[in-house]
């Protein structure tokens, strides 16, 4: 089973591949302001998150704030799902 740490590592690898200057991004860095993920890469970024979270993301329903930091991404997409 892939842990949240592994998932964050996968996201960092994605960012580093496209933007080496942002390779050392921290959990609280603003990914959008620092252009770690730009507009042209965002679609690929969403597909990566879909794969890592197993959750389908509706492009018309996204809130950019959910993608601003690694911490927010983790909270939104990788939080433990508690079954009733």
């Amino acid at each position: 089973m892939t842990t949240t740490t592994d998932k964050i590592a996968a996201i960092k690898a994605f960012i580093a591949q496209r933007n080496p200057e942002a390779a050392d991004v921290t959990l609280d860095d603003d990914l959008i302001e620092m252009r770690a993920v730009d507009s042209l890469a965002f679609v690929e970024f969403l597909f990566l998150l879909e794969e890592l979270s197993g959750e389908s993301i509706d492009p018309e329903e996204i809130d950019v704030e959910d993608f601003r930091t690694l911490q927010r991404i983790s909270d939104r997409f990788f939080a433990e799902k508690v079954s009733a």
């Binding site: 679609v43 492009p59 950019v64």
Partner: protein
Amino acid sequence: MTATVQPVSLELARLESMAESDYYNPYTMFEWPDTLELDKPWMSEDLVTLAGTEFWDELPREQQLALTRHEAVNFFSLNVHGIRELLSEVVLRIHTKTYADASEFLHHFIGEENEHMWFFSAFCLRYGKKIYPAAPNLTPATDDGLSKAASELVIFARILMFEEIVDYFNAHMATDTSLPKIAQDINRIHHQDESRHVAFGRTIFTQLLQQVKEKNPEDIPRLVTYLDAYLDYSIRSLYNPAVYRDAGLNSPLELRRQLLEHPARAEAHDRILKRTRKFLARNGLIAQEAVA
């Protein structure tokens, strides 16, 4: 917005005259059947994103046909969203000082693009019952450090590249008699209008590029990087996991990744981009070795 961009000087009389003589009423010229044939491909089989790969060959015929249906709706949906974006940019510029010379032609352009968006969306909604959503836009266009002229060039370059890529598909499907007639007709009419739009787009691109080369040559390397990334982005947008899901294909995201890495698809991308890359190379905006 365009204070430091020199007014463009364009000879558009011929294109304006052609736009007038080619004028048609899109709302009455097409015959829309209630349903389309399910035993025909809706998109040319050699243009679907699985073409040339074992993934296509392994599909049962029914699923191949289903895929062509969803890919056609996706292709026309991409057109709808691309036009929506380019129209908003052009409307912001018509009758401004920089583009005063182009305003007469831009009236034709805006009218025609609106009509294209109508018939593309009509196809999607009648026969696909939906328009696939647009790719999300991460940020509004903020100051990216480029000069005004380079920023303007990026806007018109995106429009031009979008038009040239879709025209590759339109030109092919306009004469593909295996398709339902309405699909051929839409592609043919779009191809006819786009030839004028591409001619206009190349003219204005060349003028703005000249301004950048003269006043802000330091922007050229960034333009080269951006335009290359934009071509890649445009190609990737053709590969929609939602299409694969709708066609009943397994593991859509994994399939998409495998297709994007497939040698046969790389060759297909080279064919799609050949004309645009040659144009960029002629203008010094792409490495010559990148031109297939």
